[in-house]
C-alpha cells in the first residue's frame, strides 16, 4: 500500500505535541481579545478551555486521558516554572525580607494545616445522630488533607500576580512564601501518610517530624547549592563552546531537582537554591547571546508549562470517575481555608511587625491574605494519595478542585479591581539610575561602618563579610578570566552603557530623546582649561595606532573615490552608498573584534561608532572627522562625551580622533545613512562570532 496509517507508532509524542500546540494557540488567542483578558486572568480562561476540551472528549465518547497524573506534573511541568522563578528571583528584596517570608511559609502553613485539618475533623464529627459517611473520616486523614490544601501555590500566584503589577515587597512576600512552603508541605505530607499507615502517633514521632523538616528544607537547599556551584564552575570553561552554555544551566538545575526528589527532599527549594546560587557567576561567564537564550527558553518553557497545567486542571475536573460531591465537606473546606488564611496572616503580621523596619500595613495584610491561591500542586498531591489508606480520596479530590476553582476564579478575578480600589502601591517602572546604584553601594558601606562603630554585629556587618568572602575566594574560582575582579558598580555601569547603546541604535532614526534635556558633557566640565585629555586614554598606544590606521586606510580609500561627494547637494549614488556601507561594515566588525578581544570595554571607541559619518574635506590631510549621531538625543552625547572637543577641529594628524559639534543642517541622505549604519551596528551579525578567534592584532 502506498499510503498507510500507523497511529500507534507516533501516538505519545503526537498527543503531547497536540496538547502543547493547543496550549500555545490558546495563549495567542487570549491576547487577541484584549477586553476579556483585562477582566479575567489568563489562568481562569485556561481552566475553562480545559473544561471545554475535556467535555468535548467525553462527548466524543472517548475516555478522558489521565493527563494530570502526578508524575507528568511533578517531573515535567513543574520544574520549568520553578527554575524560571528561581533564576530570576530578585535576590536583594528576597534576602531583606527572608525572615518575614520564612515566618509566613513555615509557621503560616503549619497553622493553616492544623487549623483546617482539626476543624474539618470536628465538623465531620458533628451531628452524631445523623449517620453520615463523614463520620468514618479519622483525624489523620483530615490533617493530611489540611496539609495538602493549606499550601499557597507558586504557579497560581505567579499567574495572577504577574498581571496585577503589584509593588515589589508584596510580590516577593507572597511569592517567596509560596516557594518556601514546599518544604513544609513535603514534610507534613510524608509524615501524615506514614502515620496514617502506622496508626498511632507518639511524641517521638512529633520530634522526628521537626527533624525531618529541617533535613528536608536544608537538604534541599544544600543539594541545589552544590549543583549551582558545579554549574558555575563549568561555565567558567565554556568560552570556546558558547553554543552549549544554556544547556548546562538547564541540565544542572533539572538534575538538582531530580536529586532532591530522589531523597524526598524539597525539590522546589533545591531548584530555587540552584538557580539563585549559579546566576551571578554564570552571568559573568557566559556570552550575551547565551544569556538571551537562557532567558527566552526559561520564559518559553515556564509559560507553556503553566498553560498546560491549567488546561489539564480543567480536563481533570471533567473526568468524572474521581469525584464524589459532599456539600458539607466541600463548603466547610472552602470557608475554613479562607478563615484560616486571614487569621494566620493577621496573627503573624502582628508578631512580625515588631521586628520589621518597614511595617506591613492593613492593606498589605489584606493583599497577602487574599493572594493565598491554591493550585495544581495541591491537586497532584491529592491525586497521589493511596486509596487503601484514604478511602475518602475522591471526596478529597473534589474538595481540592473546588477550592482551587474558588481561589483562582473568584480571588484571581477580583484581586485586580481590589488592588485598584485599595490603591495599593504598584510596581515602579523606573529604570535604575547610576546615581541610585552609587548610593545603594555607598549606603551599604556607610551602614556597615556605622554598625562597626556602634559595635553592633547586625545585618550589614554579616552581609559585608559574606560579600568580602565571596569576592576573595568564591569569585576567583568560579568566574573566568579577569571578570572576577570587576566590582559590582563597574559591572552595573557597563551593563547600563550597553543598554543605552542598544537603545540609541534602535531609536537612532526616530529622534525621540528619552530624557528631554540638552544637557551635555560640556555643561559639566569645569570651565578652566583642562589639559586636553587623550581621548583613547585607556587603550595602549599600540592598539590605538592599529585602530587609527585601519580607520584611516579605509576612509582614505573611499574618500578618494568620492571626492566630489557632498552630502548637502548630491543624491547618493546607491552603488557608492553600498560601497561605503560595506567598508563601514568591515571596519565595524574589525573593531567589534578588537573590543571583544580587549577586556577593557572602551566606551570611547564604542561611542565613536555611533558618531561616525563621512565628511568631505578640502585638504588631503588624513584627519578623521567625526560627527555626533543625532544631535537631539543626549544619549549619544553621553557616550561620546570624552571625545568631544570645543568648536574647531584641529588639523593636527597626531591629535587622533577629532570631534565636531553637531552641525545644524543635516540632509536626508546622511540621516538615512545613519539609520543604515545604526541598523548594521546593532547586530554585528553571525560572522562576528567566527571572527573572534581570528588573530586580529599581530
Amino acid at each position: 500500500p502506498v499510503l498507510d496509517l500507523n497511529y500507534e507508532h507516533v501516538q505519545t509524542p503526537f498527543e503531547i505535541s497536540l496538547w502543547v500546540l493547543l496550549a500555545s494557540l490558546m495563549k495567542l488567542g487570549f491576547h487577541l481579545i484584549p477586553r476579556v483578558s483585562n477582566i479575567v486572568p489568563e489562568s481562569c480562561l485556561l481552566i475553562v478551555v480545559g473544561l471545554l476540551v475535556g467535555g468535548l472528549i467525553r462527548l466524543a465518547g472517548e475516555e478522558v486521558p489521565p493527563v494530570m497524573n502526578a508524575e507528568v506534573f511533578f517531573l515535567c511541568l513543574l520544574p520549568p516554572i520553578i527554575l524560571d522563578a528561581g533564576y530570576f528571583l530578585p535576590i536583594r528584596p528576597f534576602m531583606e525580607n527572608l525572615g518575614t517570608i520564612l515566618m509566613f511559609a513555615v509557621v503560616g502553613t503549619l497553622w493553616n494545616a492544623f487549623f483546617i485539618g482539626g476543624l474539618l475533623f470536628a465538623v465531620c464529627q458533628i451531628n452524631p445522630g445523623y449517620p453520615l459517611e463523614l463520620h468514618q473520616l479519622e483525624l489523620l486523614p483530615c490533617l493530611l488533607f489540611g496539609s495538602i490544601i493549606s499550601a499557597v501555590d507558586p504557579v497560581a500566584v505567579l499567574a495572577v500576580f504577574e498581571e496585577i503589577h503589584i509593588n515589589e515587597l508584596l510580590h516577593i512576600l507572597v511569592f517567596g512564601e509560596s516557594l518556601l512552603n514546599d518544604a513544609v508541605t513535603v514534610v507534613l505530607y510524608h509524615l501524615f501518610e506514614e502515620y496514617a499507615g502506622a496508626g498511632t502517633v507518639t511524641v517521638l514521632d512529633g520530634f522526628l517530624g521537626i527533624m525531618s523538616f529541617l533535613v528536608v528544607a536544608l537538604g534541599g537547599v544544600l543539594v541545589g547549592a552544590i549543583y549551582g556551584l558545579l554549574a558555575a564552575f563549568t561555565s567558567r570553561f565554556t568560552s570556546h563552546m558558547r553554543v552549549i552554555e544554556p544547556l548546562f544551566v538547564f541540565v544542572y538545575s533539572y538534575m538538582a531537582y531530580l536529586s532532591a526528589e530522589m531523597f524526598h527532599l524539597s525539590g522546589i527549594m533545591a531548584l530555587i537554591a540552584c538557580g539563585a546560587v549559579m546566576k551571578p557567576y554564570v552571568e559573568a561567564n557566559i556570552s550575551h547571546k547565551s544569556h538571551t537564550t537562557i532567558k527566552y527558553f526559561l520564559k518559553m518553557w515556564s509559560s507553556v508549562s503553566e498553560t498546560l497545567i491549567f488546561i489539564f486542571l480543567g480536563v481533570a475536573t471533567v473526568d468524572g470517575k474521581h469525584h464524589s460531591w459532599n456539600w458539607v465537606f466541600v463548603t466547610a473546606t472552602v470557608i475554613l481555608c479562607l478563615v484560616a488564611r486571614v487569621m494566620g496572616v493577621v496573627g503573624l503580621t502582628y508578631i512580625i511587625n515588631k521586628f520589621r523596619i518597614v511595617k506591613l500595613t492593613t492593606k498589605d495584610q489584606f493583599i497577602i491574605a487574599y493572594g493565598g491561591l491554591r493550585g495544581a500542586i495541591a491537586f497532584s498531591l491529592g491525586f497521589l494519595l493511596d486509596e487503601v489508606h484514604f478511602p475518602k480520596k475522591d471526596m478529597f479530590l473534589t474538595a481540592i478542585i473546588t477550592v482551587i476553582f474558588f481561589t483562582v476564579f473568584v480571588q484571581g478575578m477580583t484581586i485586580k479591581p481590589l488592588v485598584e480600589l485599595l490603591a495599593v502601591k504598584k510596581k515602579q517602572e523606573a529604570k535604575r539610575s547610576i546615581n541610585e546604584e552609587i548610593h545603594t553601594q555607598f549606603l551599604d558601606h556607610l551602614l556597615t561602618g556605622i554598625e562597626d562603630i556602634c559595635g553592633h554585629y547586625g545585618h550589614h556587618h554579616w552581609k559585608d563579610k559574606l560579600n568580602r568572602f565571596n569576592k576573595k575566594y568564591v569569585k576567583r574560582c568560579l568566574i573566568a578570566g579577569d571578570r572576577c575582579e570587576e566590582p559590582q558598580l563597574i559591572a552595573f555601569y557597563h551593563k547600563m552603557e550597553m543598554k543605552q547603546a542598544i537603545e540609541l541604535v534602535e531609536k537612532g532614526g526616530a529622534k525621540m530623546p528619552a530624557i528631554p534635556s540638552t544637557v551635555s558633557m560640556q555643561n559639566i566640565q569645569p570651565k578652566k582649561a583642562v589639559p586636553q585629555e587623550r581621548m583613547l586614554g585607556q587603550l595602549s598606544k599600540g592598539k590605538e595606532e592599529e585602530i587609527r590606521n585601519i580607520l584611516r586606510t579605509n576612509l582614505q580609500r573611499t574618500r578618494q573615490r568620492l571626492h566630489s561627494y557632498n552630502r548637502h547637494t548630491l543624491v547618493a549614488d546607491p552603488f557608492e552608498d553600498g560601497v561605503i556601507l560595506r567598508k563601514k561594515n568591515v571596519m565595524e566588525k574589525k573593531v567589534w573584534i578588537l573590543l571583544n578581544k580587549t577586556e577593557i570595554r572602551n566606551r570611547q571607541i564604542f561611542g565613536f561608532f555611533f558618531a561616525y559619518s563621512m565628511k568631505p574635506t578640502a585638504d588631503d590631510v588624513p584627519t578623521i572627522h567625526v560627527d555626533l549621531a543625532s544631535p537631539q538625543s543626549p544619549d549619544s552625547v553621553n557616550l561620546v562625551d570624552e571625545l568631544k572637543k570645543k568648536s574647531e577641529p584641529t588639523s593636527d594628524a597626531d591629535e587622533g580622533l577629532v570631534m565636531r559639534a553637531p552641525s545644524q543642517n543635516r540632509s536626508e541622505e546622511s540621516d538615512r545613512e545613519q539609520q543604515k549604519l545604526m541598523r548594521c551596528l546593532s547586530d554585528p551579525g553571525p560572522n562576528a562570532d567566527e571572527d573572534e578567534d581570528e588573530p586580529f592584532l599581530p
Binding site: I357, H445, I453, C454, H456, Y493, E497, V519
Partner: protein, 215 residues
Amino acid sequence: MGALQSIPGHPEYSDLSDKTGFSFEQISVLHKRFKQLSHNEDTLHRDDLSAIPDLSCNPIRAQIIEAFFDQRNFSPSEEGTVEEIRFEEFLVVMSHFRPPRHSMSEEQRESVRKDKLRFLFNMHDTDNDGTITLQEYRHVVEELLSRSGALGKETAKSIADAAMLEVASISVGHMEPDEFYEGITFEHFLKLLSGFDIEHKMSIRFLNVDTTLCK
C-alpha cells in the same frame, strides 16, 4: 518605643533622649560603647575611631569618620570640623540612623527624609560650599571603587561623569552649550534620590545593640 524609665545616676539622659529621640536603654548602651571607644575619656578623637579593626576594610572609612567630626551634622547652622567630640555629639550623629516610627505623620516623615539626605549630602560635600562639584563626586566614586586598582580610577571618572550628567538632566533639563552646571545642590540631591525610600534604607536597628561581643 518603650516606657521612659529613668536610670538612676544619669539624669542627663532625659535631655539627650528628648534631643535625639533615643530611648534610655539605647542611650546607655551607646554610652557604654562610647566609653569603650574613647578608653573611658570624655571625648572621642579620630584615632579612636580609626582604631576599630572592623572598619579597616571599609572603602569609605575616611568619610565615615569625618562625618562624626563634621559640625554640620551636629546642628544645621554650624560649619567646620572639630578635633574631638563628646558623647552628646556622638549621639546626635547616630540619631540620623534611627528608623522612622510607624506612627509618624507625613510632615514628620518628610523631615526625617530631609535629615538623612542632608547627612549624606554633607558627607559628599567636603568643602562645605553647599554644592557637590564634579571633583567631589568623582572622589566619592573613586573611594567606592578604591579596591580595584588602576582600572577603578579611570572608570570611576567615567561613572562619575555619567552620574553628574544624569543629575543635571533630571534637575535642570535644558541647558545651553555654554552654560555651566556648578554642582549638585541640596534641592537637586533631594530630587535625585526622591524614589529611594531613604528613611527605611538608612536605618539601623538600635534595639539589640550588644557591645559585649565586639572589640
